[in-house]
């Protein structure tokens, strides 16, 4: 009675730590876990091809690519709200700072539009204030934002075969925050290029406007109101929780966190992010993936 396909199909869901809570799973799994036990073997044969493999089967086509208009807008904007909430206080603070060194709101908005990278912009403004050379500001910006190379690479897993023009537009909006949310959504399979672009550009518009608003008089907004300074930290905490899927990812996250703390104390700048991540992901590969044993 045991259908080999069924066994194979079912064994790929062995990581029971993931089954505990199906809500955070990619829909492929969610669906299978819900559907597999009650339905007949025939169905499992039909479903057999869905055998989930990270970054492979859930990669290329996401159903939401065909979403049209309003639904795409809504999906992207809804997913973007925690990012926007976090960008507003930081944007205002940046605007205030930039205005103090003599930049006009238009100049501030232009920098936010062209660069769209929070920490690099703060650093650039303080360097401008101290009279640093153009070359050193540009070189520092490059170093500070080099971490996006890693984020873009890890997003690429889910974007194979997409149009290059669209990819080039999408790349503009890759920030630490949009990376975290987009990656989680692409992984889940509920996502597509449409909502991803909406999310990126919603965040971008909010960033540009809040930095410009800061330049007009953001000093009137009390700092720390309603714990808003914690918004992005809380978002990263939850995004990290979503990524802790198996033994490997937990090990990688633990190593990366510890290394990042040590390196951040030892070396100035933010190179520690790239160094710790690369080392931790490499170390994670050495851990035997739980529940993905090929029988």
């Amino acid at each position: 009675m045991t259908n080999p396909l069924f066994v194979k199909f079912y064994s790929c869901f062995a990581p029971t730590d993931l089954q505990r809570d199906s809500s955070g799973l990619p829909p492929g799994r969610q669906w299978c876990i819900r559907a597999a036990p009650p339905v007949a073997v025939e169905t499992s044969v039909q479903l057999g091809f869905i055998e989930w493999e990270p970054g492979k089967d859930d990669r290329p086509v996401t159903p939401t690519d065909h979403l049209q208009g309003r639904e795409t807008l809504k999906k992207g904007a809804v997913a973007a709200w925690p990012i926007c909430l976090g960008y507003i206080p930081i944007g205002l603070a940046f605007g205030v700072l930039a205005q103090k060194i003599g930049l006009s709101p238009v100049q501030i908005a232009l920098m936010s539009l062209l660069v769209f990278a929070g920490s690099a912009q703060f650093i650039a403004v303080s360097m401008l204030a101290s009279g640093a050379s153009a070359a050193s500001i540009i070189a520092t910006t490059f170093m500070v934002n080099l971490r996006h190379l890693l984020m873009s690479s890890s997003l690429a897993v889910y974007l194979v075969g997409r149009r290059r023009g669209v990819l080039s537009l999408f790349a503009y909006g890759i920030t630490d925050e949009s990376y975290g949310v987009n990656l989680d959504q692409f992984r889940s399979g509920r996502w597509g290029m449409g909502p991803a672009l909406v999310l990126n550009h919603t965040a971008n518009i909010v960033w540009v406007l809040s930095t410009a608003a800061g330049g007009y008089g953001g000093q009137f907004i009390p700092p720390g109101a309603f714990g808003i300074d914690f918004a992005l930290t809380a978002m990263f905490i939850c995004l990290l929780v979503f990524q802790l899927r198996d033994r490997r990812s937990v090990v990688a996250a633990a190593i990366s966190g510890i290394m990042a703390v040590l390196l951040s104390v030892l070396i100035p700048g933010n190179l520690y992010i790239v160094l710790a991540s690369v080392a931790a992901a490499t170390a994670g590969l050495l851990v035997r993936p739980a529940g993905r044993k090929e029988a």
Partner: protein, 107 residues
């Protein structure tokens, strides 16, 4: 600083920021990546989110020093448990903000 000079600086900053964002999604998406690379990249999100998050919680100052006494860390622990339990991004953000606000008021 003159207007054109400022424009040049921010344009160049934009360019050097855009290139690392763009090159991988542009070049790595042509054909499926080798399996080992995919597996490695699958671990990058957990690693990078942790590397972004943890130093914010346990270091302070410039130059950075280890500091376990920050309210951020105090609030982060229950927020982490909340995220683990609810798996809700919006809920976690609201919970974390409320708790942070409360701690800020009390301390």
């Amino acid at each position: 600083m003159s207007g054109p000079e400022y424009l040049f600086i921010i344009a160049a900053m934009g360019l050097v920021t855009y290139i690392p964002r763009w090159a991988p999604v542009f070049w790595l998406t042509r054909r499926p990546m080798p399996r080992w690379l995919v597996q490695w990249l699958e671990l990058i999100p957990a690693a990078i989110l942790s590397a972004l998050l943890v130093p914010v919680l346990v270091t302070s100052g410039q130059p950075r020093q280890i500091d376990f006494g920050r309210p951020d860390l105090l609030v982060a622990l229950p927020t982490f448990l909340f995220a683990l339990k609810t798996r809700s991004l919006g809920g976690t953000v609201v919970f974390g903000m409320a708790l942070y606000w409360l701690v800020d008021k009390l301390m």
